[in-house]
């Protein structure tokens, strides 16, 4: 085995890329930005009442109101969490259906250079504040879970179609050529060439968005769009910490449950195991 001469190793070591100057520049920029930002924070200080409230919140967390958790009536936690899940489920379904045209119309391999028009629309929907959207839908369907479904549905278009586009642009044209060569009709090409390439990834995107939508749906109630948020807000404003803690525990259990299964199913869909 040949060993490198000692001075060559040293040469290589000495001519390594020098990043000190760049690092100093980056660090100073960050420090300046942070110092500049510090000016905005007005620390209100901890008063007697804030300590009292935090103590109450922590106490309520350990001992939430159990009769709200263990009942199945209209305003109980299980019922509201089912409603929240329903809002997220129907909303995701609506969003993923609405996303299909957006996604196909902004994929480069389908519409060519006009794709950027669709991309702009998708970016605008993605940045639309979702409380504003909820307030707009409250005018249509009144306060209630249906408003939540519509809001979540329209809001999901942004992210779902962005991720759909990535999947569509990854379509392997070789498979379509092979189907052409074997004399497949247009319908057969779509059925056996395109759909199998898309479904697994599309469903994975939908499940991922469902996970996010469950979290979004928990706060939608604050603007009166159904779900558990409204109960949370009213309980807190009335300082009923035990009821609020029950709602928070409901959110924790459902979100962790959904996250666990979503990760499992998506892994199975992508790797096939």
């Amino acid at each position: 085995m040949k060993t490198l001469p000692q001075n060559l190793i040293l040469d290589v070591y000495q001519s390594r890329p020098k990043t000190t100057l760049r690092n100093i520049f980056i660090v100073t920029t960050i420090i300046i930005l942070i110092l500049w930002s510090l000016s905005v924070i007005n620390y209100p200080g901890i008063t007697e009442s804030s300590i009292q409230i935090s103590r109450n919140i922590l106490k309520a967390f350990v001992n939430p109101s159990w009769d709200l958790i263990f009942s199945l009536e209209v305003d109980s936690i299980p019922f509201l969490m089912f409603e929240t899940l329903g809002i997220a489920f129907l909303g995701t379904l609506l969003g993923s259906i609405l996303s299909l045209p957006f996604a196909f119309l902004s994929s480069k391999n389908i519409v060519g250079k006009f794709a950027y028009l669709g991309t702009i629309v998708i970016t605008i929907i993605r940045s639309f504040p979702f409380f504003l959207l909820a307030l707009m839908f409250v005018r249509v369907s009144g306060p209630g879970p249906l408003t939540g479904v519509l809001t979540i549905g329209v809001l999901s278009i942004g992210m779902i179609s962005k991720m759909y586009v990535e999947v569509i642009e990854d379509i392997d044209p070789g498979i379509l050529q092979a189907l052409d060569a074997s004399g497949a009709s247009l319908f057969q090409k779509i059925r056996f060439g395109i759909i199998p390439q898309l479904t697994a990834n599309f469903i994975s995107v939908m499940i991922y968005r469902f996970e996010i939508n469950v979290k979004n749906a928990t706060v939608l109630g604050i603007v009166g769009a159904g779900g558990i948020g409204f109960t949370l807000l009213t309980a807190m404003s009335a300082f009923r910490w035990q009821d609020a803690a029950a709602a928070l525990w409901g959110i924790v259990v459902v979100v962790i449950f959904v996250e666990f299964f979503s990760t499992k199913i998506r892994k199975k869909l992508i790797t096939g195991e």
């Binding site: 979290k215 706060v219 962790i256």
Partner: protein
């Protein structure tokens, strides 16, 4: 009892062989091809059941109470606001937007920075491949997944009762949210790290700290920067709703103008936020391109 059991097993076995027979094809050269079992029908049925249950709970209940006609007749209401937002757009309001916008950027910057500082040590502690034979990663991961369950707004809501209204609660909520999500993304990166270089450098006589700094850090730093930038973007977007609980920044004026029904101003606010988000997106795309 034994006879009953064996009968049930017999029935299941015949069903199994039948389904295999149904799925088997004989090709022209005599070979047998068996299709893999498909659960599509079962999954579709389960999904359909869930769908009908939720449809009944939410949509049918609504139509039964108010009627379909009512819903259709109110659809134009949605477009009135949209129309007002486009036609009444008030460009002169931009002057009033700048200050809250800067506050929002500052909150997001600080929140991302402090959240990242807190996340770094925890992310290394939560990585299964660095901390071996210990329960610490599992415990930390469990606590993190609880932290991540609440949206930023819920944290801000809780803090608003403790600290009152102001930018401080926005900052706290942003820090906690950033901490939860960044730590997860970071330990996922760390768990894919190649530990070979670490062992190699340690075997040359370097101490643990030096070998860690020269082998692990260079492998993860690039991905870490892009995670941090991505989180900064998320925090900027989230700031628009933080105003609902009085957490300062652009969300506050957005909330005010929405309740005043000044939709021209609202669209100006949305537009400026969109502008900032697009600028930040492009900067971070540029930086990420440089890093990788």
């Amino acid at each position: 009892m034994k006879i009953l059991c064996s009968k049930i097993i017999n029935i299941i076995n015949t069903l199994k062989t039948k389904s295999i027979q149904n799925r088997t094809l004989v090709l022209s050269d005599g070979t047998l091809v068996t299709k893999p079992k498909s659960y599509t029908l079962l999954y579709t049925l389960i999904l359909l059941f869930i769908f009908l249950y939720f449809w009944n709970l939410i949509v049918s209940a609504f139509f039964q109470r108010f009627g379909f006609q009512f819903f259709i007749s109110r659809i134009p209401n949605f477009f009135t606001i949209l129309n007002l937002m486009v036609s009444d757009i008030n460009f002169s309001y931009f002057e009033r937007v700048i200050d809250p916008l800067i506050i929002t950027i500052q909150i997001s910057l600080l929140g991302t920075f402090i959240g990242t500082l807190l996340a770094l040590p925890i992310a290394f502690l939560a990585s299964q491949n660095l901390i071996k034979n210990s329960k610490i990663p599992i415990v930390i991961k469990f606590i993190l997944s609880i932290i991540r369950t609440f949206p930023t707004l819920v944290y801000a809501l809780i803090f608003s009762f403790i600290f009152g209204f102001g930018t401080f609660i926005g900052l706290l909520a942003t820090i906690i949210f950033t901490f939860g999500i960044i730590t997860k993304m970071m330990y996922e990166v760390i768990e894919t790290v190649d530990l070979g270089p670490f062992v190699a450098i340690e075997s040359t006589g370097a101490n643990k700290f030096t070998s860690f700094r020269t082998s692990i850090i260079p492998q993860v730093s690039g991905r870490f920067y892009s995670i941090i930038l991505y989180n900064f973007e998320i925090n900027l977007r989230a700031s628009a709703i933080l105003g609902f609980v009085g957490a300062g920044g652009i969300g506050l004026i957005l909330n005010d103008q929405m309740s005043l029904k000044e939709y021209g101003n609202v669209s100006m606010i949305v537009l400026s936020l969109l502008l900032v988000v697009i600028i930040v997106e492009n900067i971070s795309r540029y930086v990420r391109g440089k890093l990788t």
